[in-house]
């Protein structure tokens, strides 16, 4: 693991990108300010969540009696990002890129191998016991599958009310039922459904129950792991609208993890693109979708089928060859190089840093956002030529 945090060192001297290189950096005020100016033209104040060089390796073992580690699945391998109050950060990527592991790490459902997650300046990867419980109240999660994430033997009231058993300070005992009914009303369900069981609801309604459970403790951050991908198209829009409404109402910050790029664009203020445990590119939705500079982002965007047959003749399609390599044995250098049409020797030797590419540095263009590619160049693949 030690060699991992080192690999980004060569360019750590570049001054505009100190806190997103792999190297642990003690932040000074001026540096953070400089980065914020780059990342976000609007002043968002202090980030509510700062992720720094987060790593999660799952060990691969051999032997039955004497287990010895023979390798590791590098699910998340050094990613950094910030989340601001009231914003939605979308994280996209294909299956196996580590986006769900990031969600679990943020929730502390998995313990990070290395790296830090600062919630209001406090590193939550080191917390335990009562301090961890207090933080967890403020970071809640909405899961993908509304069919398996609700206990079929509990009523809706019990499912949502259970959160108050763990955090009794939020709602006093006599008040819980009323509070649950209030929550049902907030997510657009009839408060009289409180005694029903999950199977009596449709998929969209179940996801609303999941959202009500996530809201119960008045959290500041909600991690949404593919919250609408199990829903039908006509119901998806209802749930997305509800989530946007709740965000405004309660000033929530979302980390919105999904593989559907159109939905992520719709809901997100900023978007990060992950590939094989690394962040390939991160920026505002306009920067990523209209001015992508990383070849993987370009390929990913160009592969999305757009519901407009006119566009099928006019759009450039980049069809990638092959599959995503195994995270147990990722390629050296840039992880995308095995599928990249631009790859050269440099890509095999040097890990590209997530930073504003040299050629765009200081330029006042939407292409000037962080992209981990040696040969970053802007290319619009979404709009018809």
């Amino acid at each position: 693991m030690a060699e991992l945090s080192k690999k980004n060192e060569p360019a750590a001297s570049v001054d505009a990108t100190p806190n997103v290189t792999g190297v642990e950096v003690v932040e000074t005020g001026s540096e953070t300010a400089a980065i914020e100016a780059l990342q976000a033209p609007v002043d968002r104040g202090e980030p509510i969540l700062q992720v720094r060089n987060l790593v999660k390796h799952f060990p691969l073992t051999q032997g039955i009696l004497f287990k010895k580690q023979v390798g590791a699945v590098k699910a998340v391998d050094g990613i950094s990002f910030d989340l601001y109050q009231g914003e939605t950060l979308g994280i996209v990527g294909e299956s196996g890129c580590g986006k769900s592991t990031v969600a679990k790490l943020l929730m502390r459902l998995e313990t990070a191998t290395a790296g830090e997650i600062f919630y209001k300046g406090q590193d939550i990867t080191k917390l335990s016991g009562r301090a961890l419980k207090a933080v967890r109240r403020n970071i809640q999660m909405v899961f993908q599958d509304p069919y398996t994430s609700l206990n079929p033997r509990m009523t809706v009231g019990d499912i949502i009310g259970e959160t108050f058993d763990i955090h009794p300070e939020v709602a006093p005992k006599g008040d819980r039922r009323r509070r649950v009914q209030e929550l049902l009303d907030v997510v657009g369900l009839n408060p009289e459904y409180i005694n029903r069981y999950p199977h009596q609801f449709s998929g969209g309604q179940r996801q609303r129950i999941g959202i009500a459970r996530g809201l119960a403790l008045n959290p500041e951050i909600i991690i949404c792991d593919e919250p609408v991908s199990a829903l039908d198209v006509s119901v998806q829009a209802q749930v997305i609208n509800l989530m946007e409404k709740l965000q405004d109402e309660f000033n929530l910050s979302y980390v919105f993890i999904a593989h559907d790029l159109s939905i992520v664009r719709h809901i997100s203020d900023r978007v990060g693109v992950m590939y094989l445990g690394k962040m390939a590119e991160i920026g505002t939705d306009e920067q990523i979708y209209d001015h992508p500079t990383h070849p993987y982002t370009q390929a990913l965007l160009s592969a999305v089928p757009v519901p407009d047959p006119e566009a099928r003749e006019n759009r450039e399609r980049i069809i990638l060859t092959g599959d995503v390599p195994s995270p147990a044995n990722p390629p050296s250098g840039c992880r995308f190089r095995t599928r990249c049409w631009k790859a050269q020797d440099k890509c095999a030797q040097e890990v590209p840093l997530l930073a504003v590419p040299e050629r765009f540095k200081g330029a006042d263009t939407p292409a000037a956002h962080e992209s981990a590619c040696h040969f970053a160049e802007e290319k619009d693949v979404v709009h018809a030529a």
Binding site: E94, G204, Y289, V304, P305, E310, D323
Partner: protein
């Protein structure tokens, strides 16, 4: 055992006049504890050689059940086909004997399923499963069948096919497994392929590869293709014509360009407006209110009426037929139909 040419379906009948496949007024129902679920309620469509028909619908719209009825793989009971005809090259398959249908299934009409991992047998090698087609339908020897399997894997662009032919399904990635499913469907060079959500379980970059492959092979063999999906994006990329299903009925049919530009049914219109766009940031999404109906209690009149913003008393009492859709001046729009009493208002604004 039998060679294709001896199969009962008359060969040349199709090309002129008779379509490759014609579904006429098909009804399918399931007997459940809660009553009779009417999954398909009078579906009509035709597919010609070389044509791609996309059947679009949400879960429970009857799109997959229709496909299963065509393939003859419906579970009966609890399923039942009380009414309807499925004509393959002019012959009603519902009237055929089990033996006759078996000769068509796989050889003339093949199917690609959504989840390749659960559709492939985990305890047999991929080569064995691909070769089975040739052994059973064509009576080839084990050795010849294996050679055919390698050839097929090559054709669907699986790298190093000769080495991988003895691998098991779990040793392949999701995209590769779906290619094997496509290879299996293509094995006997069928006239019609039914692809039921073939790329739903795949990542976008792989999805693009697989859809391109499917489209390429379809062109090469001049096959008919029924593409069943809920994804409006995938449809726009490959289909020639579209049938939109809702609660077991076709509510709108149209050539692909027409449908996206000018939908003539409020449900289609709502669907198109409710999906976010990749190429621009929109305002709040339009959401169709309510939920798809329970199939044991489909609303009277138009099944969409409780969710429709422009429903009237007429919609609540009378089931709309699939009306032919025309221009304002009455000029015919080929291939267009809408099962809405107010299609004129929907189409012409």
């Amino acid at each position: 055992m039998t060679l294709i040419d001896e199969s009962p379906a008359p060969q040349g009948a199709g090309d002129s006049g008779t379509p490759l496949l014609e579904v006429r007024d098909l009804h399918v129902e399931f007997h459940t504890r809660d009553g009779v679920a009417k999954a398909v309620n009078g579906v009509n469509y035709t597919v010609n050689a070389g044509e791609t028909l996309a059947v679009l619908g949400e879960s429970g719209s009857g799109k997959s059940v229709t496909a299963q009825a065509i393939m003859g793989i419906l579970d009966m009971p609890p399923g039942r086909i009380p009414k309807g005809e499925i004509l393959f090259r002019g012959q009603d398959m519902l009237k055929m004997s089990g033996e006759e249908r078996r000769k068509i299934r796989g050889a003339r009409i093949a199917m690609i399923f959504q989840d390749a991992l659960s559709s492939l047998n985990p305890v047999y090698s991929v080569g064995f499963q691909l070769g089975e087609m040739f052994r059973v339908h064509r009576g080839l020897s084990k050795k010849d069948a294996r050679a055919k399997a390698v050839e097929l894997m090559d054709r669907v662009k699986i790298p190093a096919a000769a080495q991988r032919v003895d691998d098991y399904p779990h040793q392949f990635s999701g995209g590769m497994r779906q290619r094997i499913m496509i290879a299996m469907a293509l094995a006997l060079e069928p006239d019609l392929i039914i692809a039921d959500e073939p790329t739903t379980a795949l990542d976008v970059t792989v999805q693009a590869q697989v859809m391109d492959l499917l489209a390429e092979l379809q062109r090469e063999y001049n096959m008919g293709l029924i593409l069943i999906t809920h994804d409006l994006g995938v449809v726009a990329d490959v289909a020639d014509k579209i049938a939109v299903m809702y609660a077991g009925r076709i509510v709108e049919t149209a050539p692909v360009h027409e449908l996206y530009k000018r939908p003539a049914h409020p449900y289609t219109k709502g669907l198109l407006e409710s999906i976010p766009r990749l190429d621009r940031k929109g305002q709040e999404l339009y959401a169709i209110k309510g939920l798809p109906p329970n199939l044991t209690r489909i609303p009277t009149g138009c099944a969409f009426n409780p969710r429709c913003p422009q429903a009237t008393d007429l919609c609540r009492t009378e089931v709309p037929a699939l009306f032919p859709v025309t221009e304002q001046d009455g000029a015919e729009l080929a291939g267009r139909g809408s099962a809405c009493h107010y299609w004129k208002e929907t189409l012409h604004g």
